[in-house]
Structure formats: C-alpha cells, structure tokens
Symmetry: C2
DNA sequence: AAATTTTTATAGCGATCACTATTAAATACA
DNA sequence: TGTATTTAATAGTGATCGCTATAAAAATTT
C-alpha cells in the first residue's frame, strides 16, 4: 500500500523528530531559556522552515508539551481500562516517576510540572499553557480517586481533592529534587514515606524493590 | 549619634528597597524572564547605577535570593532556639507556608523552590545558585529532624532523609500549585492529608483552623 | 512541457538583550 | 578653594531576540 504523496515539494526533515528535539530543549531550559536559534540548530532546519511547520515559538511550545503529556501521561488510561486498584496504581506510578525523573537519557523531572512556572511578562501565553495543562492533570487525578471512592477502595470520608493535591505535590517535589540532583533511590524512599499518608487500609502493599521493564505500563 | 557620611556623592536611592524590588521581579518572572530594563525601570535607577550597586545581573539575583531566604527562612532558628517540638514546628510551618504562598501581596509560591529550575544554558550560574541554596535548606531540614530523633520525638527507625524530602516536596508542590491558582484553604487541606504520614504518634495535633498573627513566628 | 503547490534557504527586519565608556554632579577632605 | 572620591545620567556598544520578505527548488497535476 503506497500512500499517495501530497502535491508540493516533500519535507526533508521528520516533523515528529523535530518536535521531540523541541520538547527536550524546552524541558531542560524552559520557554524563556530556549531560543529560536537553539531550536533550529538542534532540529537541523532554518527559521522559515520551523515557522512554516509549527507557526510560532508559543505554538511549538504548546505542541511539544502536549506531545510530552500524550507520551508520558498514562495514569488515567490505566485506571479506566485496566480497572487496576487505585492504591497499587498510584504507588506504582509514583515509584516509576522516581525512575523516569532521574533517567539521564532525558532532562530531569517532569516537563509538565516544571513548565513555564515563571516566565517573562510578554510570554504569559506560555505560562497559561503550563497552568492549564497542570490543572487538567489534577482534575484527572481527582476523578480517578473519586471513582475509586465509589468502588469503595477509599473510606467514604476521604477528601479526594486534598489527596490528589498531595500526590501532585509529590510529583512536583520529585521534579524539583531531580533537577537538584536527587537519585532514583532517594526519591523512592520519599515516596515510601509519603505513602504512609494513604487513608484507610492499603491492599497489596507495593514495594519499591519491585522493578518494572521500561516498556511496561 | 550621627553616622559620619562617606566621602563621595551620596546615594539617591535605597539599596535595600531596590533589592526587594529585584526580589519580587525575579520571584514572579524568573531569572531569564526579568530583564535589566525591567529592573532599572521598577527600581527607578539607570543601568550604570544598578551595575555600580550590585555588580551584575547574576550577582543581583544571588543577593536577592539570599535576602529572601534571610527574611523568610526561619524554621531552623526556631527549632534551635525555642526547643519547639518538631511536629508542631513543622506542621505550623507548613500551614503558615500555605498562607504565605497564596498571599496576594507578593508573587505566588516560594521564591527559593521556584528559583531558576530551568534557564538558558548561558545562565547556568543562576541555575547553580538555586540548586545550591535549595540543597542547603534541605540539609537544615534534615538536621532539625535528626536532632528531634535524638530527643526521641521520632521513632528510632525513622528515615529522616526521606521524611525531609517529603516535607520539601510539600513546600515545592504548594509553590507550584500556588502559581496555578490554588487557594490557601486548598493548600491547608493538602497539608492535613500529608501530615497523616507522620511517623509514630503525633503530640499536640495541630489544627489548620488555628490562625496565627502575621507578626508572630 | 507548462502550471500549480509546497518546502526550502538566503538574508535581514526592527526590537531588545546585558552591559559600559564617558562625563557631569555632589559630597568630604586638604 | 581646590582635590579626591563616589554616584549620577547620557548615550550608546555589539550580540542576540523572535520573526519574515523574497525567491529558488522539488514535487504533482494538467
């Protein structure tokens, strides 16, 4: 099956690959800290090519962040489709985040949690993008805890908003501490300490010594 | 008692006040997001005056951050000098941080926790300043928990490093969530949920309904 | 082959970046 | 009253910022 080519001159670069290059740069250096010159140089394209493909620096940032989330934010899909118990799901997610945030193969921490926390006043659009996408992630976490409460996996008096904020804070704190050089094991020990705050009884206590394949989950 | 004036032309601006202006700008907009033009305009001085007084943008940033910490980081002084029980000290500090991070009188969150998490590669010195000062704060938190353990306020098997990381993560998560628009009450509820992870028995359970004067502590 | 469509690179736009050479102004000291 | 000392503003420096006008190149369609 040969896909019919579009009409004009064909692309000489991989758009998705260029997007991942942009993601890594924005992730490590932030919105203000990444220049168009940085992007074009690492992508191997010239400025007009970048603008033809992505519109503007702000649009490229948003698309890069959305692509990062699509590739890495799998928590809710799992709770919905697998029906996994909420405790093991969240505990495993936290331990796996401790590994991912310290993986030297990419910048430290979670790109979403670090996205445009501070930036120049004239780049408020990028700031709002970060705020908006973090709020969406928070709402999904709240929803997954709500569903677990309906399934009676959490005590009926549980404050799911407060609990969701606490797990968000753990992911955010792990991101900053990964930037500051914390090791995988140090972050995992913190997760273990924090999971003591789980309300009610914890079914199937998950150990941080359980290691998973990178391709799993 | 009249302080003898120095020899040359006297200053026409308040250096400490200018430093606080710089602190607010760096706090809200970050290192990359704050320009010399922003600083000079808000300080009411010209660029040569700023450089004569503070050396460089990097030195001004470091000085502003150190001044912020000196003004706001009072945790350890309290545990050392007052001999306050560690649980009430940390619980109160967390609840008060929830108030401070959402105070509309200044930028949201903690300037230290948000300091230069990401910035341009050529500004690595500012990034290192942030990392270094957060690591110092973490070591002080570890030390205060260690002393509490020696005073037998914590179980002997307590992992104080993991516990210190958890409280750092709460402060860091509260900072990011304050940036994202969380309310004082939402952050306090999160603190309450997280304090359930406190090891052993908690003496004198602190309520988030206890309100303190702004001038206290 | 000619026309149409799309992507490409060259070259450079005006604005802003962090920073400074120069000189005038304002004080204390001799 | 000079001289030394320090701070002040004027007026810029070269470099980089995000972005684009223009036109050549490479494909399909007619």
């Amino acid at each position: 099956m040969e896909a019919s080519r579009p009409r004009g001159r064909p692309r000489t670069f991989d758009r998705q690959q260029a997007l991942q290059v942009a993601t890594e740069l924005f992730w490590r250096y932030g919105y203000d800290g990444t220049s168009i010159a940085d992007l074009t140089q690492m992508m191997g394209v010239t400025p007009p090519t970048l603008y033809a493909a992505f519109g503007s620096k702000e649009q490229l940032y948003r698309e890069a962040l959305l692509d990062y989330i699509r590739s890495n934010g799998v928590l809710v899909e799992r709770v919905v489709h697998n029906g996994e118990p909420i405790y093991s799901l969240i505990a495993n997610y936290l331990y796996r985040s401790a590994e991912a945030y310290t993986d030297p193969a990419h910048p430290p921490g979670c790109m979403l949690q670090l996205a445009a926390l501070t930036c120049a006043a004239e780049n408020e659009a990028a700031h709002k993008t970060g705020v908006e996408l973090r709020q969406e992630a928070f709402q999904l976490l709240v929803a997954s805890l709500e569903w677990a409460k309906e399934r009676e996996e959490l005590p009926s008096e549980t404050n799911v908003f407060a609990l969701a904020r606490m797990f968000m804070a753990l992911l955010q704190g792990m991101s900053i501490q990964a930037v500051d050089g914390a090791s995988t094991e140090e972050l995992k020990e913190m997760v273990t300490a924090a999971l003591a705050a789980w309300p009610g009884k914890r079914p199937n206590e998950t150990q941080n010594t359980i290691h998973h394949r990178d391709t799993e989950f």
